[in-house]
Symmetry: C2
Subunit: 499 residues, 2 copies
């Protein structure tokens, strides 16, 4: 269409979607020519101005002023209805990825933006919406920090019993189904979510449930969104169950000659059903790092594989459980057993476990990074997989003198391996990569999982998750993804890829 012709058609409006479309209803079978209502829509020059502004915003290549292209979008030979009016321009926005972002504390690239897009930072949605003390639940926005929450509700005697990174936001904790040292006693994030408010890819907002603690009404969307890493919807509000803060706490530590002895003792404590609040393992290297960092709790530590135990309940319960654990520890070649009887002793005894991450960061040789990974296996295989890790480490990482160590939530069959390496040295990076990969394979051979608590993110999606679950199960997951996000707009490149 020539510019001269164009002047005759003045009435067009921006459509909602991808194309500036003429708002004209025709009731003729011929290509009629008529003047549209001047009052209703701006003139052509204004429209062109608008289209140029859009071109500036979206990038020139997404807006076309080409006559042939305009014609192809404006006249349809096969149609019984046509208009001689034409759009001034064709806008073709691409799909824009949306990446929900909490505190950014996840470790598998769960909130990275590999395809750029718009990162939706939910940190200003940080209100406690409603605290139902008598129902033992609380409604929070996604950006609430769990430590803040627990401080604010402390006087009620209730708390949220998860303990991931202290910086974590509850939205992200749900999105990655986090856990931590308390998972042994209290389970993982999924066990504390009553309902979720979720913004879907199409903009709709749903609530997965009402507010009963127990229900069997309809599909469990709550746990489907929990752990889906923002790929199925954006979690904006969460109702959480709360637990009663136990009357009393205590801690104990037990050291062992070998990591195998420590893992065996841990297994026996589990199997005898001693009610522990936490059961953590640090190997001799981790203990050494603590000492290198000046110790913890005002003292230096035995550089031996060490179990850290937490107890909670009434004083009498705790004393009884400490006695039981002490006996098991002794009969499993335990070298030393210490339990706390005052608050100060408790803090000091737990200090090494508490400070382990800082000790690792402080101990890093210059230029090195930490590769921290996370697998879980059935309980009885704990000692075996740790043994395999040390063998792999000896073969692959030892030649480069890399510092490798183990930190385990042994009560869940879950442990982290931590290797320090220099990413600028390709051979080191390759050695760590192979070592981590071999651990995944070992975990799977033991019927375990490639991710106990960190999620899949970008880091573990390809070989790992596919190897763990097989193509049939992944196909079902992808089907669910397509059902909820057909254009693959939500956090693309995470968990699994589109093709």
């Amino acid at each position: 269409m020539s510019p001269v012709e164009c002047v005759r058609y003045r009435g067009m409006a921006f459509g909602q979607g991808a194309m500036l479309r003429p708002q004209v209803q025709l009731h003729t079978h011929r290509d009629d020519v008529f003047i549209l209502d001047d009052q209703k829509y701006p003139d052509k020059l204004t429209m062109l101005k608008a289209a140029r502004l859009i071109a500036k915003e979206l990038g020139g290549e997404k807006v076309s002023f080409d006559d042939d292209n305009i014609e192809a979008h404006g006249h349809f030979e096969w149609s019984t209805s046509n208009t001689s009016a034409r759009p001034v321009a064709i806008v073709t926005p691409k799909k824009v990825p949306m990446v929900p972002f909490g505190a950014g504390s996840s470790v598998e690239g769960n909130c990275s933006s590999p395809f750029s897009g718009i990162c939706i930072d939910l940190s200003l949605m940080n209100k406690i919406v409603a605290f139902h003390e008598d129902d033992m639940d609380v409604v929070v926005e996604a950006g609430v920090n769990w430590v803040d929450l627990n401080n604010k509700i402390k006087s009620s005697g209730l708390f949220l019993p998860l303990d991931p990174s202290p910086s974590a936001h509850i939205g992200g904790m749900v999105a990655t189904n986090c856990s931590g040292t308390n998972a042994m006693r209290y389970g993982t994030m999924k066990d504390w979510v009553v309902n979720l408010t979720v913004v879907l890819a199409n903009g709709e907002i749903i609530k997965t449930r009402r507010r009963p603690r127990k229900t069997s009404a309809g599909y469990n969307l709550t746990t489907l969104f929990t752990g889906s890493e923002g790929t199925l919807g954006i979690i904006t509000e969460i109702t959480l169950k709360l637990a009663i803060i136990p009357q009393d706490f205590s801690v104990a530590i037990a050291t062992f000659p070998t990591i195998k002895d420590a893992a065996t003792a841990a297994s026996r404590m589990m199997r005898e059903g001693v009610p522990l609040a936490a059961l953590e393992l640090m190997d001799e290297i981790q203990m050494k790092l603590i000492n290198q960092n000046g110790g913890a709790g005002g003292k230096l530590w035995a550089e031996k594989p060490t179990l850290f135990l937490k107890f909670s309940g009434t004083r009498r319960n705790i004393d009884e459980n400490i006695s039981r654990v002490k006996i098991i520890s002794k009969s499993s070649k335990g070298i030393q057993f210490d339990s706390a009887s005052t608050e100060k002793e408790m803090t000091n005894l737990w200090a090494a476990r508490k400070e382990v991450l800082y000790a690792n960061l402080a101990a890093r040789p210059e230029g090195t990074q930490i590769w921290s990974t996370d697998v879980a296996v059935p309980l009885s295989r704990m000692a075996e997989i740790i043994g395999k890790f040390f063998l792999q480490d000896l073969i692959l990482c030892w030649p480069f003198r890399l510092s490798s160590s183990v930190l385990g939530h042994v009560g869940d069959g879950n442990f982290h391996q931590i290797v320090m390496y220099n990413p600028d040295k390709p051979q080191e990076a390759e050695a760590v990569k192979r070592c981590v990969h071999n651990m995944m394979i070992s975990a799977l051979e033991m019927e375990g999982t490639v991710s106990g608590e960190h999620g899949i993110g970008m880091g573990k999606k390809q070989e790992c998750l596919l190897e763990e679950l097989g193509p049939g199960t992944i196909a079902v997951m992808k089907g669910l993804k397509r059902s909820l996000d057909p254009l693959w707009l939500l956090n693309p490149g995470k968990v699994f890829d589109e093709k």
Copy 2:
């Protein structure tokens, strides 16, 4: 094609699917005529015989011998490849519903066949596949009965801590996300499933996870299938976490002047965090029914609202917890408090709770049925919703002198109301229906659920589930259903309807 022509084409085989399709590969663009290999396929008469047998099985209207229809299914004018061979008949099977069936103990029509179809009874899949004592888990087929399982593994000191109907099979328990009196301490079925083997609508078999107790790898398909009532797939094998059988048990009962006092006492026990193994409530009518049935545990009972409490752990724990509960009970207007110190006393004290279902069945006047329903509300609303039930009952059921009573898993905010009515008396049936419906609405107004543990089945799908979750959430569930079962073949008519 005439019969004479037909004789020339002898080689056809039954296809897998809807049509008897010729198994001929043509490499020509013309309608070639040729004789197929006599050895490979039966002759035309045999094929016709087969088609007639199919017609007999599926019903005549689903098999066509019509020449025009055969031609329409045999030659394609627009195709570059054709054959002159034709099928002997066209079979058009309709979609056949598949209804998975466990023990049939569910109460909302969850395993009924409203559209007929094929009922898949899994009761012969009753093997314990693998018992991993040291991992504290067990792999079972869907048809294993939970009481049998617990008897078989008892000597290991482990058990599955759910307690639905004693006849229930584990497949059905997972499909309805069952619970029972132990849910307060141990959670519901979903909390004990490590992984599922599921046959999908398309015949594919998937496993939702491997065997770690804790994982955050990929979407939680395990809990999506749990509670989906056989509408998303048929659960054939289940890996279950097991719990340690507590060293010791005890029970206690406490009677109160009013149901409100009993519910208040229950709330306080919860809120003070007394570790109870079960917290059950029976109203005065239920206690009366026990007495009418000759009592329980060798005695008649006070016809007052009664709390039944279970304790587990070590002897010292239990004694401590019984003391705490006794104090709360007394300060909540408790009339009487009894605890057991011997095994015999325990059995006797729990007898009334144990025999309540039998007492209800025995007490039914001739011609009446029991309408048992199940709602759950936030903990603090328990007393209020029970009050509402009695008011509704007074208005609607009392004019017909129907026996109505309450039996609650108060530790979960979940209770059952039991009304006896004569289904042949339309006014009685209508009164009960309205009473039950009003209870659902009350539960929803209190942010509760229309089903605490029985599922949706046919009974609660329409007004109830839709009212509870709203159209947006139901649309998401239907989207998931379509993604997994596009032809709506699995247990149709349950949870929600296709249109």
